[in-house]
């Protein structure tokens, strides 16, 4: 009897915890939406800050939206240029379970755990070292460092479960490792897309990296050496203002960022579902 009761009690707690996690998610989305929706106007997303913006006058955060998109896309492309070769090397070129492959996997897991503030500080030191100023370029490079481990880990998980026989099929036709690599890429397209989206989500929402390296400005950057605003920092800076209109714009910006991230998450879900269907 006591045994049963104990189990019932814990089962109740478990269900409670599980449901409350979903509840918290809904609560976060609800809070951000209800606070932000009121100030979310067309001006916010279509204009850059006008004079007196930070004391509550007109304008929007287009500079931050565009800046974030520039950095996110740039970092993801640069990140792919590095991580695809890495993933191909440890999954196709190197022998199965080789020492280098294991070390690379471990390292990318560790790098994944390094917080973005540390990447930011490191990005800042290389920026100073090369005599750069806070800029779109410095921000992009730092965020690239942040997303490489995400890309490597996510793609590696997909490449690893491709049956060995696919590679063997190509080899037995006299194919080289490079030809096998190309087939593997085709096989893993949905997984690569999921990885890209995950990296997008992480890059667009990250504040600590760009805080050090991208700077902040009211205009949209026109070249790589100009500083740029970003969405998370737009939220962060405006929220610390004592003026209510400015704070409200922070909520609107938070809503925009949340919507972008949710869209990215749902698209990633769609592709990973597709991936599990593709499995042979």
């Amino acid at each position: 009897m006591k045994r049963k009761l104990e189990e019932q009690f814990f089962k109740f707690l478990m269900i409670l915890c599980t449901l409350s996690i979903s509840g918290i998610l809904l609560m976060i989305i609800w809070t951000i939406t209800s606070k932000g929706a009121g100030s979310l106007t067309w001006d916010i997303v279509s204009k850059i800050p006008e004079g007196g913006f930070y004391i509550g006058k007109g304008g929007g955060i287009l500079n931050a939206i565009i800046g974030s998109i520039y950095i996110t896309i740039g970092a993801t492309i640069l990140g792919l240029l590095v991580s695809i070769p890495v993933v191909l090397y440890i999954n196709v070129y190197a022998k199965k379970n080789s020492w280098l492959a294991t070390t690379t996997r471990l390292t990318s897991d560790i790098l994944f755990g390094i917080p973005s503030i540390v990447y930011g500080a490191f990005g800042f030191t290389i920026m100073i070292y090369f005599g750069l100023k806070t800029s779109l370029l410095a921000g992009t490079i730092t965020v690239t460092l942040l997303v490489i481990p995400i890309l490597v880990r996510t793609m590696d998980e997909v490449f690893r479960v491709v049956p060995e026989d696919i590679g063997n099929a190509v080899y037995s036709l006299g194919g080289t490792r490079w030809e096998t690599a190309k087939i593997m890429i085709r096989q893993c397209v949905p997984g690569i897309i999921t990885a890209i989206l995950l990296s997008f989500g992480r890059a667009i929402g990250d504040a600590a990296c760009v805080l050090f390296t991208a700077g902040y400005t009211d205009s949209i950057p026109t070249s790589l050496d100009q500083p740029t605003a970003t969405l998370p920092l737009a939220i962060f800076f405006q929220l610390s203002s004592p003026i209510e209109e400015v704070q409200n714009r922070a909520y609107a910006a938070a809503l925009i960022l949340t919507i972008i991230v949710l869209i990215i998450s749902f698209t990633a879900k769609y592709f990973s579902k597709k991936l599990s269907k593709n499995k042979i």
Binding site: L26, L88, T102, L106, E179, A181
Partner: protein, 297 residues
């Protein structure tokens, strides 16, 4: 033709190898870069004065990290105390009790939660948690709290690390062979007893690894915590006091650090400390998890 193909194969092999090596040494580069920058302050101040003094007066060249370290440790502790039971119960439920259908409905919210940017957690914390702490909790215990407190930071942080812990726990539980559960059930144990005495016991290294990973994640979280914890550089005496964690110190002062001597070096030392601790914690827990995965195959 054949030679060209083989040449391409060789070239790509070598280039890819270089990229792989580069990606692997990044971790060393980061450590070395931060150490190089923090070397000046390590030379001019003794390590014990840096770590054990709470006096932080950059203009007088006294850099005692103690209050920041205390801040980081206290919000991390609060976050783990809140997050671990919730994550364990949820993880056990999802892996042992929930039907496939229920699982499919309940996993996406956890994933979505892990995708929400820190700054959004910060905004939510300011709007909900800070007033909640101030009006609903603190009033019963202390005369006044602004709500921007160690507790608020801990709660927000707890919610941020819950998805991480759950996802690792689910992986760990899935490495426990079904045969083991069946063996326990077949001698008449209830499901809950099987979980308590077999699953949890067998998963212990994995659970520890999950907690260590969560701690290292909590150590490094910056923006969300910085927005809700008040940022007063004193050792917090109660959970309703404000605190000032290390990452927040780095983030808040990046602008002025270049104008004060040694200030930059001190902040980089803060980053270096974070790096070393998180590196070690991550390495240890990942190695534990790799072992578990390998032994289950």
């Amino acid at each position: 033709m054949k030679n060209l193909r083989l040449t391409i194969d060789k070239i790509t092999g070598n280039v890819f190898l270089i990229f792989t090596l580069l990606a692997t040494v990044t971790v060393i580069l980061i450590g070395a870069g931060l150490y190089y920058k923090s070397a000046p302050i390590l030379h001019s101040n003794s390590l014990s004065s840096l770590l054990l003094s709470a006096e932080w007066k950059p203009f007088k060249s006294s850099f005692g990290f103690l209050s920041y370290i205390a801040g980081t440790l206290s919000i991390t502790a609060i976050a783990i105390i809140i997050a671990l039971p919730i994550s364990l119960l949820t993880g056990i439920y999802l892996s042992e009790y929930a039907h496939a259908k229920v699982k499919r409905a309940l996993l996406p919210p956890i994933d979505l939660l892990s995708g929400i940017p820190p700054v959004i957690y910060g905004v939510w914390g300011v709007l909900i948690i800070v007033p909640f702490v101030q009006e609903k909790i603190a009033v019963h215990f202390v005369e006044f709290s602004s709500g921007y407190s160690t507790l608020a930071g801990g709660i927000v942080l707890a919610i941020m690390i819950i998805p991480l812990i759950i996802s690792i726990l689910l992986e760990v539980f899935s490495t426990i062979p079904d045969g083991l559960r069946e063996a326990s059930l077949s001698v008449g144990a209830t499901k809950w007893e099987t979980i308590k005495f077999v699953v949890l016991k067998k998963s212990m290294p994995g659970i520890i690894a999950a907690v260590v990973l969560a701690i290292s994640r909590a150590f490094g979280e910056t923006i969300a915590v910085l927005m809700v914890c008040g940022n007063i550089p004193e050792i917090p005496h109660s959970i309703f006091d404000s605190c000032y964690p290390l990452p927040a110190l780095i983030a808040n002062n990046y602008g002025e650090m270049l104008s004060v001597p040694m200030y930059e070096s001190a902040l980089m030392l803060a980053a270096f400390i974070l790096f070393i601790i998180i590196f070690l914690f991550n390495a240890i827990s990942r190695i534990i998890l790799y072992r578990l995965e390998r032994s289950s195959n």
